[in-house]
């Protein structure tokens, strides 16, 4: 440390680590006990037909219940898995573009240097702070086909609203609608910080060259915001795969399985049907899918994410 220019990066890191370790230890311990250990245990459970009730640590438990890769085989060859994966993908395909567009719109609105904009920043953030349970219950009544606010609003314009959560075709779009409403404040705020961080000089130069507001948005704002957008995409994709509370409260997987998604299945198998081994294997499959998607996103970022600013 005394000769920073000479020391090799490895040594430097080691020295830094030694200093940092005491500070890291508490959170590291938490991570170990509450994340890594359960992760490891769930990997073991996924190889068994454990029912979630027998005492896990009893001697001979593992050997007695060991089924190898049987759970994975059963899941991947079941019709249900592919249906549920399809439902999850349907959600993602609808949710990500809508959420991104809405968050961008929010960020654009909130970046305007006008009076009262701070109040709006708070207002857009309120749904984020609302618990999913409360939000879902309120939306459930808003989306009620007969008496709900939304369909009555549509009726004013002469539109006969669909059955929303009760209609197989409309249930997933309804879930997407609610999720976008809830998430756009959070992602909008992240995009906003990306937007605010852009050097004003670029805009001044562009204005001098005669660029209009649209051109400035497309040519300057959007390209320089790509790191923020990239972050939003990664986080929202992971969130989307883990779609759960709004489903449990608003539809419970219905109607006729149209909104059954992966985490909903994992929960039901683990805690309702007492098939913990199967549920653990299911969650590992979900983990691999998320890993692969995130990896692809990471690799793909070189093509479009701009870190120049």
């Amino acid at each position: 440390m005394s000769q920073p220019r000479k020391s090799r990066p490895g040594r430097l890191r080691q020295g830094g680590l030694r200093t940092a370790l005491p500070f890291l230890a508490p959170s590291l311990a938490g991570m170990l006990v509450f994340s890594l250990l359960p992760l490891l245990i769930s990997a073991c459970i996924s190889l068994t037909d454990w029912n979630g009730l027998d005492q896990l640590l009893a001697p001979g438990m593992f050997a007695e219940h060991f089924v190898g890769l049987g759970n994975f085989q059963a899941i991947l060859s079941s019709k249900e898995f592919w249906q549920v994966l399809g439902n999850t993908c349907r959600y993602i395909v609808l949710y990500i573009p809508c959420m991104l567009a809405a968050s961008l719109a929010v960020a654009c609105l909130l970046s305007q240097p006008r009076r009262g904009v701070t109040a709006f920043r708070v207002i857009y953030y309120i749904p984020v702070l609302t618990s999913w349970v409360a939000a879902s219950l309120i939306w459930k009544s808003v989306l009620s086909p007969q008496y709900g606010a939304l369909n009555n609003l549509l009726a004013i314009f002469g539109i006969q609203g669909p059955g929303w959560l009760l209609d197989e075709a409309w249930a997933m779009p309804a879930i997407v609608l609610v999720s976008v409403w809830k998430d756009m404040g959070f992602f909008g705020l992240i995009l906003l910080s990306g937007m605010i961080g852009i050097d004003k000089g670029y805009y001044e130069a562009a204005s001098l060259d005669g660029a209009g507001p649209w051109a400035r948005f497309w040519r300057i704002t959007l390209p320089l915001m790509t790191p923020a957008i990239f972050y939003v995409l990664i986080v929202s994709l992971i969130n989307a795969f883990q779609l759960f509370p709004q489903i449990m409260i608003m539809t419970d997987g219905g109607p006729n399985g149209a909104t059954q998604v992966m985490v909903e299945r994992i929960y039901k198998y683990g805690f309702r049907y007492y098939r913990m081994g199967y549920a653990a294997a299911f969650s590992w499959i979900l983990f691999v899918i998320i890993m692969v998607c995130t990896f692809i996103q990471m690799k793909g970022q070189e093509r479009w994410v701009n870190y120049d600013s």
Binding site: S35, I238, Y273, I290
Partner: protein
């Protein structure tokens, strides 16, 4: 910065799984130092014992009633101390599962009928023996008997009766339902009431699993073969029963569709005065007595080829690993069958004690409305019990989902039950 993002993404991914499985139960010192004393003697007469009892049924209004029951019990058995823990229904079963698996289950606890079968078949419950069960209602007791072994005691019971709006019957000029009514009489009355107005409906009997197994029994059907080794979900009688239920929604529309209900609760519909009949649990009495500004009464549920009425009960069970099984058995037997507990239960309007002592139940009959409270007990003659199979929840979810699809018109009844049959066969192994 880039590295942080990678780490973040990785962590977030890891959390997916961690979250699913990190449900941590609070370890509890189940029985403290007195546990050794409890097991050493064959009679629990002298040595003081402390046991733990978990329940969900008293949460939300009857915690004090339960506490009073315990105080009476403790007076009678001063050597047994019971630590009562009440957990809300929504969290109860995940918590109990974690505790049982973690070896920190309470000495005795409460289970609903759906989860009882799973627990009993997985060997985590102790057989209840050495206590006097003669005061407990036999049908209710049988619901928790698996292969001749008593794994649970019915702490309470509720059944379903036909509740009807007298005013709507008067307006439609139809005679009130009687105990002899069949589904055909119901249909005729429902049509007459439906004709009263666009938003007035005849009956609400949801096309759900719970209603289906009962109506199926009225038509002579059942979900399992008699020896319990095969599913018979798509049998002729079952299809007939389900068809009748679905036709009321889609054909005659005497029953509102999900969309016509528009997310309104079925009890709310009845209390709004726009529903003629509703077969529902006797636990609705209190709510209806307060919420209805019209006259209503009850009758034994109608039958078809035969009568069949639904029955619900929660079981008090003993943890197989408890060191204090005898004390636990003493407590739950007292809770389920003693006169004091029964009296407190009825006084509080909590629910009915599952006892066969008519005299103790008399105060229940004196309360009105409904006037025809006797129908609650008359219904007990026709009880049909749901099959106690290990994968009960999975079976009921599969059947429920298919029935809902049929009621929404997205598949025929035959298709729905065929699919339910094949999915249950594929996913559930019957012992």
């Amino acid at each position: 910065m880039k590295k942080h993002k990678k780490l973040f993404a990785l962590t977030a991914g890891l959390l997916t799984i961690a979250l699913a499985f990190s449900a941590c139960g609070t370890p509890q010192s189940a029985s403290g130092g007195s546990s050794a004393a409890g097991t050493s003697g064959s009679d629990t007469g002298d040595a003081p014992v402390t046991i733990t009892y978990c329940n969900f049924n008293s949460s939300g209004g009857n915690e004090e009633t339960l506490q009073k029951m315990y105080e009476d019990f403790h007076e009678e058995y001063p050597n047994i101390t019971v630590e009562i823990e009440t957990i809300g229904f929504d969290d109860y079963f995940t918590q109990m599962q974690t505790r049982v698996a973690g070896g920190t289950a309470p000495d005795c606890y409460e289970l609903n009928i759906e989860n009882f079968a799973a627990y009993a078949n997985k060997g985590v419950l102790a057989e209840i023996s050495g206590v006097d069960l003669s005061r407990i209602d036999e049908t209710a007791l049988n619901a928790f008997n698996v292969d001749g072994k008593q794994y649970g005691l019915p702490g309470n019971f509720s059944n379903v009766v036909l509740i009807y709006n007298k005013d709507l019957f008067d307006q439609a000029g139809v005679d009130y339902p009687t105990a002899d009514w069949t589904q055909e009489d119901v249909q005729a009355a429902a049509e007459a009431i439906r004709a009263l107005g666009d938003d007035i409906f005849g009956i609400y009997q949801p096309v759900t699993y719970n209603e289906f197994y009962k109506v199926a029994a009225q038509y002579g059907g059942s979900l399992l073969s008699e020896d319990g080794t095969a599913f018979t979900i798509n049998s002729e009688a079952n299809v007939k029963a389900a068809q009748m239920m679905v036709d009321r929604v889609l054909e005659s529309n005497v029953q509102p569709t999900e969309v016509q209900m528009g997310g309104m609760g079925d009890w709310d519909l009845f209390m709004s005065g726009r529903l003629g009949m509703i077969p529902t649990g006797i636990w609705a009495f209190g709510t209806f007595a307060e919420g209805c500004d019209f006259a209503w009464d009850i009758a034994v549920e109608p039958g078809a080829d035969q009568k069949a009425t639904a029955f619900f009960s929660n079981a008090c069970v003993i943890n197989a690993d408890s060191p204090n099984k005898e004390a636990a058995a003493t407590w739950i037997t007292w809770l389920c069958s003693s006169e004091e507990a029964a009296q407190l239960r009825i006084e509080a309007g909590w629910d009915l004690p599952a006892i066969n002592d008519q005299a103790a139940l008399a105060p229940y009959l004196e309360q009105t409305p409904p006037d025809n409270r006797q129908a609650v007990f008359d219904s007990l003659e026709y009880l049909v019990l749901p099959p106690t199979i290990e994968d009960y929840a999975l079976m009921s979810d599969i059947i429920g989902q298919k029935l809902a699809a049929a009621a929404a018109g997205s598949m025929t009844v035959q298709q729905a039950l065929d699919e339910a049959q094949s999915e249950c066969e594929a996913q559930i192994t019957l012992q």
